[in-house]
């Protein structure tokens, strides 16, 4: 199906999103079968800004939090979105203090974000 067919049928412009700018991942590396972290562990999100798709929100990068749940093993979307390569890793729910994310002194608010193993490092 081409954009020309779509435009002919729609009777007007049919804008499509641009191509993915990130290069495809050729070697995804080995799957990670064993969680590196457990409930209660302090972790820090890697300060890492890859081009292309990721499921790691920028507002947690470089921030420290606590693992509150260890979830299943899933394909890393940052890799899956950019080619046929796949790597599977454990996922975690990590709790952050909102005041530390936003630096605004708000109290009593916690933010839980679910993150893949390779987004994290020990803190």
């Amino acid at each position: 199906m081409t954009v020309f067919e779509l435009e002919a049928r729609a009777g007007g412009r049919f804008p499509l999103s641009g191509p993915v700018l990130a290069p495809p991942v050729v070697d995804a590396g080995p799957d990670v079968g064993t969680p590196r972290f457990g409930v209660g562990d302090r972790v820090r999100v890697r300060e890492w800004h890859p081009p292309g798709h990721t499921r790691c929100p920028r507002y947690v990068r470089g921030k420290a939090g606590t693992v509150v749940r260890v979830d299943g093993i899933y394909s890393v979307p940052d890799i899956e979105a950019h080619g046929n390569a796949r790597r599977h890793e454990p996922t975690y729910s990590v709790r952050f203090d909102a005041a530390q994310l936003w630096g605004d002194g708000q109290r009593g608010v916690r933010v839980h974000v679910d993150l893949w193993d390779s987004y994290l490092e020990p803190s």
């Binding site: 049928r9 729609a10 974000v113």
Partner: protein, 176 residues
Amino acid sequence: MSNSTHHPAAMSPVEQRVAALEALLTERGLVPEGFIEQITRRYESETGPMNGAKVVARAWADPEYKMRLLADGTAAIAELGFGGPEGDHMVVVENTAAVHNVIVCTLCSCYPWPVLGLPPAWYKDPPYRARMVREPRALLAEMGCRCPRRWRSGCGTPPPRSATSSCPSVRPRPRA
């Protein structure tokens, strides 16, 4: 027969694009005949917040079910016959006298379709997604849900997988 049947309002550009895409997908056999109507019917009339309400009511009435629900949300919700796309990995959290939970997908619009139906437009809007993670108390108050200062607010983004987590009992509702 109504006049609108013979002279329907002109389609908007986005409606024309949707119709063009649907027609081509159907002609090529990429979408089975009737598939889109079936999905639309399912999410318009068979799926919605009433499903989540049944799950919560069961948890209120049955302490053992509540324990199963909090331990493995996906399995416990499946006991009532609910599951499927966007509900493959459900995590259920509980509001207490001291904690109010709210779900926001800051990266896209993950939403637990099997228990709440399709997401309302405000849930997908960038202002909701940006503000709920940044200032949940203020936004909840604007939506008619006041959380006393002594309460903790647990703001959770859904699992960044294809699926989602939610607690049907804590979905904030916008004030009409």
